[in-house]
Amino acid sequence: MQNTNRPQTNNDKVLVVGGGLGGIRTALDLAEAEKNVVLVDNDYTIGGLMTQLDRTFPTNNCDLCTLAPHLSESGRQEYIELMSMTSVRSITGEKGNFTVSVRTEPRYINEDKCTACGACHEQFPECVRFTPGLDHRAPTCMRYPQAIPQAYSIDLDKCEDIEALVNCCPAGAINPDDMAINREIKCVSVVLSPGADLFDPSKLDYLGYSTLPDVVTSLEYERILSASGPTNGKLLRPSNGTQPKKVAWIQCIGSRGIQKGAGSYCSNACCMFALKEAIVTKERFQEDIETTIFYMDMRTFGKDYELYLERAKDDYGVRFLRSRPHSILQQLGSDALTITYTKDDSTEQHIEDFDMIVLSTGFKTSEQSRQLALNAGIELNDSHFPVTDGFNPVATTKPGIYVAGTFESPKDIPDTMVQASAAACMAGSDLPAGKKTARKENNITTERDVSGEELKVGVFICDCGDNIGGVIDVDTLAKRIQDLDNVAIAISEGHGCSRVSMEHIRKTIEEENLNRVVIGACSPRTHLSKFQELIRKAGLNKYLVEIANIRDQATWVHSNQPENATSKAYDLIKMAIASVTKAQPLVDQSLPINKNILVVGGGISGMTSALRLADQGFQVYLAEKSDTLGGVAKNIFKTLEGDNVQTFIADLTNKVENHEYIQVITRAIIVDHSGMPGMFKTGMQVGPQMFYRQIEHGVTVLATGAIPNPTKEYALESCNAVMTQLETQKVVNQTPDIVKKWDNVVMIQCVGSRIPDNPNCSRICCQTAIKNSLAILEINPDARIFVLYRDMRTYGFQEEYYQKAREKGVIFVRYSKDSPPSVNPAGNQVEVTFTDVILGQKVTVTADNLCLSTGLVADNDSSEELAMIFKLPRTADGYFLEDHVKLRPVDMPVPGFFVAGTAHSPKLIKESISQANAVAARAQTMLARDSINLGAAAARVDSKLCASCLICVRACPFDVPFINADGYSEIDPAKCHGCGMCVSECPAKAIQLMQFEDDKILAQLEEIFDKVNA
């Protein structure tokens, strides 16, 4: 399959510009697929905007825990060259052979030497770029200690005594002679993901942003709410430090062409952003605070977002006012902010006071990124966002240059993640076919068998500069430790994680024939894997090391009481020794991978994923339950932008059917499934005779689609004049003569969506209505078109088409959920009666065509069955549920499964294609490896002790344990997540969690109380 023997050229890299969430994802996907990446970012650490968010919707989880692993993952990747403080100056050449000129600003710190001890920042805070408290959570929690690169940066301009600054660094890492470096990078393809700026409202006097301190942007509000923000998470008014009682959000600031300088597009993410902030505010202060959102349309069109909106209304009591306030004022002598507004159903002016007002500012391309686009030679649209392919939004006008994230168009995190992976897929496929960078050979020595050896623990204690050594006397501590049982050697080790010390520790292990190792140092969270690798190099099983966290848990937090810090450090090391003496060598679980792929579903998404993966040389089985490929999109003729869908599908189908690595299996019904990630077996009944056939594969892609909502509302079945948008589209495209006879057309939005039975928004229907309206007017300019809507959700650039439709005379009339339009068939016509909110009276239109926007629903018939067979979770409304709704939108919770297209949630064709491409990238990260390492922290059952009581079976959050044919509980280590819940609930004490065995925990406990009992 993959030919690794091809001659290597110098040019085997992808350049990724931008180290935000999207850039990281792109770089990781490529690196995990064993492709070389250069990641360039102009900030001094990576993370982008995401690091400034407190909590993200819809689960209101803290981002930190989920983002952190990405960053350290990124830092560990051997395929990623990270260039921080670096900007792109020009890109020349063609796809396959670009030359990128970059400039790296001086950091004045040698990253190799810097241990991020913080000494420079303590002594010269003014000239060190490390700003805890200002950009909330980010610096304190993220940029340090998990920051990548793990180093500070110096602002030399602000330094008055350079020599003193240089001398303050215990690691000698500060280099005042550091200079900017210009460099040329050769690469095959480029992904631009520099993000976007937020709209600056300070020029809009009437909003008072620049004069009234209590008017803040949504990002600023986020920072005020944040636990590690400037107010320590207290919600305080910037003006007077009191807690606000009334907070309002004003939507669409800088979007939808509303203000001067605003983009003509919808910024996509702000509605959810405001909702989240309002909910978090209500969660924290409940009855003590009132929250109001001023909006035009609530655009909660994403997966399950509508439910979030309902929660905000019903559960949290957030108040929603459909209104566009025209000004924010403050009366002299008052500290209240006064908003004057009119409601959409009257002209009456309302005046209301608030304590704080949050401006939901939209996205805007930055000057820098426009320059970047110019340098890269890609075309931009009127709003300065890149012009992209109608069926592939990550492809720019220049082959080989791809875009992702908010640089491409305004979007939220999940869409960014999808595009980032899609861009990785596209950029990766530009690498010479079959090129795979050979993994660096690690000359790993064989593992020593330590069983039967007398315990010989080696203890290495870091001073970590002054971090540890400045508080306690490490040498004396080492001497005391030396006297403990089982300790062969205990020494102080300077900066244990420095290259020199690591080498010294390795040698000592070998020379002293140590069989257990304790490092007295910092957090195992950040450093355990490093030391595990080290002792493995020294010939020991990697699970024979423990870290005693004497820095974070002793010297850093008890620095004012060195005596206590010392005795605690002593205790912590003793605990680690006790624990490591009970440690047994463990083997990481790993599985060989079958590199074939099963794609279920032969619509656009499934075909796209199949094609991308097959192009990379993987064998793909494409199973489709009907007898032809193409799916629901076969009924769609053109996109909103005017691209021809039919030609696209025909071309795609042709490529798929004729691909040497794709086997199309039509009329395939999946009937069984077994195995584990990397080695699945799926059985299906195939063809008219329903022959049984079994496919072996390593990865499964679900692209089973959704179906048009089979609603029967509004006389859809009984009256010829009533049809769906899909049907209307067909008429418009195939029999335009009929359209010419239409005098009145009424469209009703949200038919069968946003109702109790199907609470979510179908996402696609607003733009479909606009598309069909424009197409009808094209054929019949005299037609009167009424669109009856609840919220127009024309997000992103769709907004421009919405405005165009308005300009062309399409009449948009809002109706509320409680008073839907009524329909009365009248021969070949249909009478539609609705309430005109502005006129405040009922209007009846006799329509020649009543066009229902019925949207999509999950294909429950097949997805319920598939979910059962594959053991995959679904949402309440039947769509497949991804692993993490923000950060892993295409990965399913079961490893080895990916989801693309409308099987995930309703979406547009181009969005489905992005997701399909993303799936291809994510799948390649798995398929690049020959085996999967699953770690060793799995629960293990001792069948001799097991009472088969089922308590573990019921306790497991992931349904892993089962009672096997021998009648005992069995836990598949490859499926075990390692939480240990079964262990703590087992009444027979028959289960142990490897790495966290009971005897290790009990041994630590005994050490703590050694003194008590003595």
């Binding site: 689960t59 989880n61 803290c62 930190l64 825990c65 952190a68 913080g118 805890p132 959570r137 304190t140 929690c141 340090y144 200690p145 636990a227 590690s228 320590n232 998470g233 957090s523 195992p524 969270r525 950040t526 966290n549 820095r551 974070d552 848990q553 002793a554 850093w556 937090v557 008890h558 620095s559 004012n560 206590n564 810090a565 005795s567 605690k568 205790d571 605990m575 922290a937 306790a955 959050p957 992931f958 997540h977 939480c979 240990g980 819940m981 262990v983 703590s984 609930e985 969690l993 966290f996 009971d998 925990i1001 009990l1002 630590q1004 406990l1005 005994e1006 703590i1008 109380f1009 008590v1012 009992n1013």
Partner: protein, 140 residues
């Protein structure tokens, strides 16, 4: 008589509380040295037996620190832990140990401040309660 210094064991889940402890460290937020952390993958892994053993060994206080409600990395380990703590508290009362000596707390990974504050509050609470009756009995 020597001043009473409580010995407190904190079982901290790897993903949130243990990370919060690291945060407290990197933010240099001081808290009493009485708290000794044992790292576990999830608060739901903390065994009732280990809590009881801690007291048997002479702990003056024990607390289990997990993720915020809804944030458990293993779905619901923190809820299971909270129920277990309630159960063990009753057992402690039966044994004759004040149940206030055992507490469940939750925090997110970013809450270094909360970690330090919790450690301080619990240490003070236990200090007020005085030595555990078991410790007293052992040392007599």
């Amino acid at each position: 008589m020597k001043k009473f210094e409580p010995v407190i064991v904190a079982f901290c889940c790897h993903y949130c509380a243990y990370t919060a402890a690291d945060m407290a460290g990197s933010q240099r937020l001081p808290y009493p040295a009485n708290v000794k952390i044992i790292r576990v993958p999830c608060s739901g892994k903390v065994d009732a037996l280990h809590i009881i053993k801690a007291f048997e060994n002479g702990a003056d206080g024990v607390y289990v620190a997990g993720c915020l409600e809804g944030d458990c990395h293993f779905k619901n380990g923190n809820e299971k832990a909270a129920r277990r703590i309630d159960y063990v508290k009753k057992y402690l009362e039966e044994i004759g140990i004040e149940s206030e000596r055992l507490t469940m707390v939750t925090m997110s990974a970013g809450m270094g401040y909360r970690f330090a504050q919790t450690a301080t509050e619990i240490t003070e609470k236990i200090r007020k309660l005085g030595p555990s009756p078991i410790k007293t009995a052992i040392t007599q």
